[in-house]
């Protein structure tokens, strides 16, 4: 009995190590699946954003900066899309997103222009499988 216990404890340590190594291989494989090492090259690049920012938000920021807009509102369709709404709010900052009447408004190209807003700039941001070719539009809604 004692012999068997000694025999078992001799195998305990390597078994523990094998399990630990197997788990770590899985953890590292899982982490490397999401990681993009090439991103490290951009560590010191101003404004660099990766992956998680939709093309619409990147295009909207370029548009708002070109027209020196510091606060704007979102069209009903953008406001209704939770992820896009959230990304617009945090990615465009310090350009502030406000609700209600503002001088400038962002809408998707496929949305209808509603008076009194008038288009002052637009930017294509790519091809969407559902919407086809898509653009973002900046409108001026007040004189």
């Amino acid at each position: 009995m004692k012999q068997a216990m000694i025999q078992a404890s001799r195998f305990q340590r390597p078994l523990f190590l094998i399990i630990l190594v197997a788990i770590w291989v899985t953890i590292i494989a899982s982490a490397s699946r999401r990681a993009e090492i090439s991103v490290l090259r951009h560590s010191f690049e101003p404004d660099y954003a990766v992956g998680a920012v939709p093309a619409a938000a990147i295009a909207a920021r370029q548009l708002a900066r070109t027209h020196a807009v510091d606060r704007l509102s979102l069209s009903p369709q953008i406001a209704a899309e939770h992820t896009l709404n959230q990304r617009m709010n945090e990615f465009l900052y310090p350009i502030r997103i406000e609700t209600g009447d503002t001088t400038h408004r962002l809408r998707l190209g496929e949305e209808t222009e509603l008076p009194p807003c008038k288009l002052i700039g637009f930017k294509y941001f790519g091809t969407d499988i559902i919407r086809g070719v898509t653009s973002i539009v900046l409108e001026r809604c007040a004189p």
């Binding site: 590292i28 999401r34 991103v39 560590s43 690049e45 660099y48 959230q86 990304r87 310090p94």
Partner: protein, 401 residues
């Protein structure tokens, strides 16, 4: 505790203090020079290496974590809309309290901002904001807690077993910019260090009380759950006072000082700005807190919550029970001092879990949605803390020299 372990404790305490200082500098509208952060990080690594050369594996682990953090996009919802959005705002305005204007309320502007302040400090060091470099704040925040865990565990094997459990339980949440498992590592290091102090009372002194206070202050500044943990620690402290039938003044100071500092520097400004937690919403649709609590205590909601508790916390509870049985078998004479410390730790964990269940009972959101989107990380964090207690209990008791 030998001199080298003491050096690790002091170095970790220094990094804890520097991290908090980065936040308090921003409260005064200043940026902490990033070199101070670098020196404190270096001090922790040097102390760990001086303690044992095998600790070089912890330095390698830190570099690995840094590579994963820096090369993964901030895609998770809370990481983007709360923590790194706050960081961006704090960096652009050079002010910790800028979030108190309650712009974009969905970003939970009442949450404390230690990691965002660290990220803003790192962004200031390179002179601009981007979505890569400031994420290093996650690593800076992890280092002192991991070093303290290493200090509390007698072997490197036990430390890595615990880190493995952290990644197994926490999965993506460990490094994706959520605070839940960062706070869990701090909660575990607080309980293990407090337990070690209860067992080796001769180690108690200025260094230990400072370290424990700073860990508690860090926990309070990481996320709102920190206040829940603080309340749970008070419950654990009360249990300890009852068991010893006396109150130690330094323990009282450790328990009160962090909350006083946290109240002055964060809770009071938040209250003055009239920003309230979304949990305490009171309107005609969702009713008030008490209506919701009464309703969920009387319908089958508790069953839904318990189900998640069993799934995410159950296995860790079993591991802990097993570790206690093993401990009991090994120590026939009953190390009562350790038992009393362990009782206080268990009371703390139970109080924390009880508080978490209460939060689900009063949530103004749909309970099923709230549980589906958070129970794995909230109960998972508590599970990691219990795993830390189990791993420490399964180890041979540290020597008294």
């Amino acid at each position: 505790m030998n001199q080298r372990e003491l050096a690790t404790e002091w170095a970790s305490t220094l990094l804890l203090a520097v991290n908090l200082l980065a936040s308090y500098f921003l409260a005064a509208g200043l940026f902490l020079p990033v070199a101070v952060l670098g020196v404190a990080m270096f001090a922790v690594m040097a102390a760990l290496l001086a303690q044992s050369w095998s600790n070089i594996t912890i330095a390698i682990l830190t570099i690995g974590i840094a590579l994963v953090v820096l090369s993964s996009p901030i895609a998770a919802w809370d990481a983007r809309s709360i923590w790194f959005f706050h960081a961006k705002r704090i960096f652009l305005h050079g002010d910790l309290y800028v979030v108190l204007d309650n712009y974009f309320p969905l970003s939970h502007n009442d949450y404390p901002n230690l990691v965002p302040a660290l990220a803003a400090t790192l962004a200031h060091a390179v002179g601009h904001w981007n979505e890569v470099f400031p994420r290093l704040a996650i690593v800076v925040a992890y280092v002192p807690a991991l070093a303290l865990l290493r200090l509390c565990l007698p072997s490197l094997g036990a430390f890595f077993a615990l880190v493995t459990l952290l990644f197994v339980i926490g999965r993506d949440y460990v490094l994706n910019g959520y605070m839940d498992f960062l706070i869990a590592v701090y909660m575990a290091s607080f309980l293990l260090l407090a337990l070690r102090t209860a067992v080796h009372w001769e180690e108690a002194g200025t260094a230990r009380w400072t370290t424990l206070s700073l860990i508690l202050l860090t926990i309070l500044n990481l996320k709102n759950e920190g206040m829940l943990f603080y309340a749970a620690v008070i419950a654990g402290g009360a249990a300890l006072a009852l068991l010893y039938r006396k109150i130690q003044l330094p323990v009282l100071a450790v328990l009160t000082t962090p909350m006083v500092i946290f109240y002055v520097t964060w809770l009071h400004p938040v209250k003055s700005s009239s920003i309230a937690s979304d949990l305490f919403v009171d309107d005609v649709i969702v009713g008030n807190v008490f209506t919701r609590l009464f309703q969920r205590l009387t319908d089958l909601s508790l069953l839904t919550i318990s189900q998640s508790l069993v799934i995410y916390f159950g296995p860790a509870a079993l591991l802990f029970a097993y570790s206690l049985l093993r401990f009991q078998q090994k120590h026939d004479a009953n190390d009562f001092v350790l038992h009393r410390g362990m009782i206080a730790a268990v009371v703390t964990v139970i109080a924390y879990l009880g508080g978490m269940v209460m939060i689900y009972c009063v949530t103004p959101h749909d309970l099923r949605w709230h549980i589906a989107t958070s129970a794995d990380r909230t109960f998972g964090a508590a599970a990691f803390v219990v795993c830390a207690l189990a791993v420490a209990t399964l180890q041979p008791a540290p020597s008294k020299d």
